[in-house]
């Protein structure tokens, strides 16, 4: 089915009342999560994942993706009003957005953030719509060796693009792979590392791990913070940007959209990176770079566009290849797997209703979010005023309920708490969690394809290099590894010289 026909097919499904309702719910909750400092889209998705079990797969993904891009819309509200990012990708919006608010221009800043997000979200969806099917077609050529190299390259890339020490990020990636081996070996049927515990026969539960790493640990980290900064209580009048604002923002929006989209496609490319890059880009090519940081609207329009076109880009590898490119996509992958839908090149042919309806509902979602973020702004401002102390017990409760509902066993709760502590310590000690999660999810797939490849090649490792597509990914991965190691080696040389 070609893209336009697919879009209409998808709209037919997305416009069903149930899907509209859950799309709205997702967008609403997403905006709420985005507005509230402290809980990011990763945590929110982890929390609400169990809620979606009773829903059909399309509806589940529609709601969950609504939460994701909804959070990108909402995150800017607190950045602009109180200089605290609602979630990580909105950090750069604080820089100029808050300054604009201090100059009495909170209205146009908020307005432009929402509108830029809408424009970027809608345009990038066209990218998704037209690029995903060809990607999937290309991926049909993939066999086990290609998947091995692709996943390997992806994991290296995710670790490379992480914030802190690359060595530690690589470590977390390998650890994730190791955790994935716990359970019953799919090929030989032996139990691995389960120490006779029946619960572990199926492996460590994916959902409790994610809920622990993202939900519980985020709250624990937040509990360390004291209170928060004063909120701007002046009435926010006039949400509409001026004509000059529009003129200044037009190109930043375009650039942000394109940048965010392509960053979203590559593994490890998340909205934090794209919004930061957009800000840096705008500042670099601006005619008045010195004004950045004092309240220029380009500093809001660009990053906001970038973080909203990112999700569309990230959906391409997920829906066409079955490979998640960041933790949030990993959660969506988990959700799809639980619903028995395996994303990948065959998704379009086997489950077209999932593929097309998710894309179509993202259009609907963006419209809903525009409405949620402009007229309903007053509501969010009231919400921000509620102290965190009232929220976090409820969030904990959702996590506990969610993990319990997976299998009616407190074991899952235990795993979740354990990984909550792990996640907390990881953050404190400077270890990235994204490589861990991605490797954990992709590990079993990776190992399976790896073993198959060796069977295919009669034990020769050459198969990974002989096949062209696989060779390309591998060379890329090796290059990245070299780039990561060289600076460290150089430093050591300089020190001993």
């Amino acid at each position: 089915m070609d893209s336009i026909a697919g879009l209409f097919y998808g709209l037919g499904i997305a416009l069903q009342p149930q899907n509209i309702f859950f799309c709205f719910l997702g967008c609403f909750v997403g905006t709420l999560i985005g507005v509230l400092p402290g809980l990011g889209p990763g945590g929110a998705l982890a929390l609400l994942l169990p809620v979606t079990f009773a829903l059909p797969p399309s509806t589940a993904i529609i709601m969950l993706s609504g939460i994701y891009y909804g959070a990108m819309y909402g995150g800017s509200t607190t950045s602009i009003l109180i200089n605290i990012p609602g979630e990580a990708a909105s950090v750069v919006t604080c820089l100029d957005g808050y300054q604009m608010a201090r100059k009495g221009r909170a209205g146009p800043a908020l307005g432009m953030a929402a509108i830029a997000s809408f424009i970027a979200g809608t345009i990038s969806l066209f990218g998704l719509l037209f690029l995903a099917p060809p990607f999937a077609n290309f991926a049909l050529k993939f066999s086990s060796p290609e998947y091995v190299s692709l996943i390997f390259c992806g994991l290296i890339l995710v670790s490379y693009l992480g914030a802190g020490s690359k060595l530690k990020a690589f470590m977390m990636g390998t650890l994730g792979l190791l955790l994935g081996t716990i359970g019953t070996d799919p090929i030989e049927g032996i139990e691995r590392f389960s120490f006779g515990v029946p619960y572990l026969m199926d492996g460590v539960g994916l959902i409790p791990v994610i809920m622990g790493l993202f939900g519980i640990s985020e709250i624990l980290l937040n509990l360390e913070e004291a209170g928060f900064a004063g909120i701007l209580t002046e009435k926010i009048k006039n949400l509409f940007p001026t004509q000059k604002d529009w003129k200044d923002s037009a190109w930043p929006i375009v650039r942000g959209t394109v940048l965010g989209f392509f960053v979203g496609v590559i593994p490890g490319g998340n909205t934090v990176i794209s919004s930061t890059m957009s800000y840096a880009l705008e500042k670099k090519i601006s005619k008045h770079p010195e004004k950045f940081g004092t309240g220029v609207i380009e500093g809001v329009a660009g990053p906001e566009s970038a973080n909203n076109s990112g999700p569309s880009g990230s959906f391409i590898p997920l829906l066409s290849l079955g490979i998640p490119t960041n933790s949030t996509m990993a959660l969506l992958l988990a959700s799809l797997m639980i619903h028995g839908v395996s994303p990948g090149p065959f998704l379009i042919s086997q489950n077209p209703e999932v593929f097309w309806s998710v894309i179509a509902s993202m259009y609907i979602g963006n419209l809903m979010l525009l409405a949620l973020n402009l007229p309903l702004l007053g509501l969010w401002i009231q919400v921000i005023k509620i102290p965190y102390a009232f929220f976090f017990p409820v969030i904990f409760l959702f996590c506990l309920l969610g993990s319990y509902s997976l299998g009616n066993t407190v074991f899952d709760i235990g795993v979740m708490i354990f990984f909550g502590i792990v996640g907390f310590l990881m953050k404190k000690y400077g270890y990235e969690s994204a490589p861990l999660v991605l490797a954990f999810i992709l590990g079993p797939m990776f190992e399976d394809h790896f073993r198959r490849s060796l069977v295919l090649s009669f034990g020769s490792f050459g198969i990974f290099f002989e096949r062209p597509i696989s060779a390309v990914f591998l060379v890329l991965a090796i290059l990245l590894l070299l780039i990561s190691i060289f600076p460290a080696l150089k430093r050591r040389k300089e020190r001993s010289a």
Binding site: L177, L178, P393, L401, V410, F450
Partner: protein, 153 residues
Amino acid sequence: MKSRDTGSSLIFLILGLSFVAGGLRMGLGPLNAPGAGFFPAVIGGLFTLLSGTLFVRAVVAEKPDREKANFWREERSWVRVFLSLLSLVFFLAALNYLGYILTTALFILFLLKVVGKKGWTVSILIAIAASLGSYALFRMGLGVLLPRGWISL
């Protein structure tokens, strides 16, 4: 964070070695049909290598000039985190004995009153509302079976 890295990398080193040992025990299998132990052993070996590198790096590095950055943001922040963890474990332990509603109510009450430092009335009201409300939502709305205990509805 140099001195912190020595500790964590050492733990990881030991963890990696355990995976290698376990993998070797399971058998690597021939290269043209890798066994169950192949992947854990190889990846475990890689992990051990990386952890070892980190460990060496941490030990050899010069001591930072300024004071080690504080592990905790403020003096007393660890209290809130610790108490919250305690209450999570309480929930885990009490759920099957006291049942969902009572456990939840106590859980929320504790968090609001002790960690959040809110007043008695507010805390009790919210605790009751949250436990009953969530019970209604998850049990009736979503059909999730929750343990019955002292308070059965």
